[in-house]
């Protein structure tokens, strides 16, 4: 029996082995065809791919010309075209710095990791925002996918260290610190993120001394960072609790103090266990960056939304949403696959 007929048999068994199964298969097939045919006709068959303006687009099909014309905005927002090399350069430098982390091992990896963590964030703010020799670009000109990634990464840079501290605080033997950590975590986890972004954008300027302004974008990043830190803390706590008690006890028996036990023994192992959970929180963060829309910061979804108001391109709702949605889906799907592969790899023995 050939391989082809064997696979045919397998599919026959999967789809048509009993009358009931056959009925379900046919029913689903009809529904899928009924839904997909008009969609395919709209998105591919009748779609217009090349041209310059709305007038080039055939009716009854998607107008991908719109995406092509707006591509730069979807990626960079209203960032000046002549300066777009700066975020590009920062992206390249970050990739070049982060890629070796997956190859290197041991001390070299640790050193590179710490150097990247200390140097890249300020470099990014300088390159994208300007000043000190570069033309300044105000944050209200930033936008698009660039801004989505910027907010996700910088809010993550607040959330991860703060989350680790909170998780350690929640496990602390000092009652006051434990209480503070619990209150902080449960408060931020209990309120909607949209309210937190409003809160950050309204209250941060209010509680600063008169004359000290906090940038609009920075407020949103801080607000998001604080909430996600509370969720990160719970992810890290899972790892800390999964660790056998003997690890900390052995470290104490060797005469290590609290910070050495934590930094050298328990935390590295706990982080490895909780990395999949932390990645899931990061996915949630990427999805929640869209909420900056409510304080008129135009990330990828915000740019897509605001592009609908252009009188030269009326009725491009579906095209804009489909494009933005696909990008979000690709980012989050890749991250969730990575998280799942980490989970399958499992923590390396202790």
């Amino acid at each position: 029996m050939s391989a082809a007929s064997a696979s045919l048999r397998l599919w026959q068994q999967r789809l048509f082995s009993t009358p009931a199964q056959t009925a379900i298969t046919l029913g689903i097939a009809v529904c899928v065809i009924w839904l997909l045919t008009p969609f395919t006709r709209w998105a591919l068959v009748n779609a217009t791919w090349s041209g310059e303006t709305r007038a080039d687009c055939a009716p009854g099909g998607a107008c991908w010309v719109f995406i092509r014309a707006r591509f730069g905005q979807f990626m960079y927002g209203f960032y000046p075209v002549a300066e777009r090399w700066r975020p590009n350069l920062f992206g390249l430098v970050s990739l070049a710095a982060v890629a070796p982390l997956f190859v290197l091992t041991g001390r070299a990896r640790l050193r590179l990791g710490i150097a990247a963590l200390l140097l890249l964030p300020p470099l990014g703010v300088w390159l994208i925002g300007g000043g000190y020799g570069l033309a300044a670009v105000e944050t209200r000109a930033w936008g698009g996918l660039m801004l989505t990634l910027f907010i996700a990464i910088y809010a993550g840079l607040i959330a991860v260290p703060l989350g680790i501290l909170l998780a350690l605080g929640r496990q602390s033997r000092l009652p006051l610190i434990r209480t503070l950590a619990v209150v902080f975590i449960e408060f931020w986890r209990g309120v909607p993120i949209i309210a937190v972004i409003f809160l950050a954008s309204l209250l941060l300027p209010l509680v600063m001394p008169a004359g000290v302004g906090v940038d609009r974008l920075a407020r949103a990043v801080i607000g998001l960072g604080l909430v996600i830190a509370a969720y990160m803390a719970e992810a890290v706590r899972g790892g800390l609790q999964a660790l056998p008690k003997g690890q900390a006890e052995a470290a104490a028996a060797l005469g290590l103090g609290y910070w050495k036990t934590t930094g050298l023994i328990t935390l590295p192992q706990a982080l490895r266990i909780s990395l999949p959970a932390m990645t899931n929180e990061f996915i949630a963060l990427v999805k929640n960056t869209t909420l900056v829309l409510v304080v008129s910061i135009l990330d990828l979804l915000g740019i897509a939304q605001s592009s609908l108001a252009d009188p030269a391109w009326v009725g491009m709702n579906m095209e804009a949403y489909l494009f933005a949605g696909t990008i979000y889906w690709l980012i989050c799907f890749a991250l969730s696959r990575w998280s799942r592969s980490l989970e399958a790899g499992g923590p390396k023995g202790h």
Binding site: L15, I28, I177, I193, L203, L293, L301, Y321, C332
Partner: protein, 385 residues
């Protein structure tokens, strides 16, 4: 002496706690002083007197009978009820849809399971705000004008201004029907307790199914039919350009509900799959070897055990729905965030009071949801001695 103090664990613990609380208090005082200074400079009042001022804000959709001449406190409650309304209905529908998708995912039919898996992967990797905007600006805005409404039996009309349904002219019969239904449920509860005890003591069976059907299905249906017949109906009429009469459910509500339900159902489906998957295979096999039928295995063996695994993550999904209902602010659904934190805050400028009240709403109802689910969890938990 100093050296001994420095190495005394209790003294060190005390020192750290005092140091941290002192710096927190210092920071708080710093913030409060800045805030009060800034508020004086900007001429913003403080305190809760603003709640009794007239709001003058129109709300397109309210259950509390709020009108724009009411005060801000009434506006707050109109927002809170709208938040609760969309949250509760979303929780219910998302649970139903999620269970269906989760069971489809577990189905032995390959195609059904693959489609359920594709749905879950699709929904979980896209921001909720995307769905909210998509349903509102993509789907509902693309629906026909009111005069070309899609209609169901000329009673329910769907168009780009929302969903128009027949409205009852009098609510009293429905209140009687609700009372009858609650009574029937209470009776069912008593009967099932009595039947279980009789079964345990004497082994005698009770016609539980028949009694249950009468009490839980026949009584509610009869009560609702009676109520529907004894009240008058204001039917929507298709006019030349617009619909007349009926009760209009605003498009913002429809879009937010659709987004919350389709999004949350993806997460619920995964919880259902995980819960049922967590029941050991030997449990089903043992039940089957005792002669239980497949339906009985599901009802008495699999679901009770799966529920224990599912309740905690379902609790956090319900809390998420409550919090995520605030996404309605992006499409101006009149919930507590958009009415109170948006409109009222713009009018009065009293950010601190308004933000505190809004956050308190979510924390309070979040606590209620957790408390109810914990109570349910405790009831379902394995009784060990």
């Amino acid at each position: 002496m100093l050296r001994r103090l420095f190495y005394d664990a209790r003294i060190r613990d005390l020192f750290w706690q005092v140091a941290i609380s002192a710096s927190l208090v210092g920071l708080t005082v710093f913030f409060i002083r800045n805030a009060s200074q800034n508020m004086v400079n900007a001429g913003i009042a403080s305190g809760f007197d603003f709640l009794w001022r007239s709001a003058g804000i129109d709300v397109p959709f309210t259950l509390t009978g709020y009108t724009s001449s009411d005060n801000i406190w009434a506006l707050f409650w109109a927002g809170v009820t709208n938040t609760l309304l969309v949250s509760l209905i979303s929780m219910l529908l998302a649970t139903l849809l999620g269970f269906l998708i989760g069971l489809a995912r577990l189905s032995s039919h390959w195609l059904l399971s693959a489609i359920a898996a594709a749905y879950v992967e699709f929904v979980r990797n896209i921001p909720l705000l995307f769905f909210v905007l998509f349903w509102y600006f993509g789907v509902i805005a693309a629906l026909p004008q009111p005069r070309d409404s899609l209609n169901l039996f000329s009673a329910v009309f769907l168009n780009n201004r929302g969903l128009t349904v027949p409205a009852a002219t009098s609510g009293a019969p429905f209140q009687w029907a609700l009372a009858a239904i609650l009574l029937a449920f209470a009776a069912q509860w008593l009967v099932s307790r009595w039947a279980a005890r009789r079964k345990a003591e004497t082994g005698a069976d009770t016609p539980a199914l028949a009694i249950g059907l009468v009490l839980c299905a026949l009584v509610p249906v009869a009560a609702l039919v009676w109520a529907a017949r004894s009240t008058g109906w204001d039917m929507p009429q298709a006019g030349r350009f617009n619909l007349r009469g009926g009760f209009v459910i605003i498009p913002e509500f429809v879009a937010l509900l659709a987004a919350l339900v389709t999004y949350t159902a993806g997460f619920v489906a995964e919880i259902v799959r995980g819960g049922i998957g967590a029941v050991a295979k030997g449990q089903r096999e043992a039940a089957a070897s005792l002669g239980l039928r497949p339906g009985q295995i599901l009802r008495f063996v699999v679901i009770p055990q799966a529920m224990r695994v599912m309740i905690p993550p379902m609790t956090s999904q319900y809390l998420n729905v409550l919090k995520n209902s605030s996404f309605g602010a992006a499409i101006a659904y009149p919930d507590v965030v958009s009415l109170f934190m948006g409109s009222a805050l713009n009018d009065t400028g009293q950010a601190i009071e308004i933000i505190a009240m809004t956050l308190a709403v979510y924390l309070f109802f979040g606590l209620i949801v957790s408390a109810l689910m914990n109570w349910y969890n405790a009831r379902m938990a394995l009784v060990t001695r």
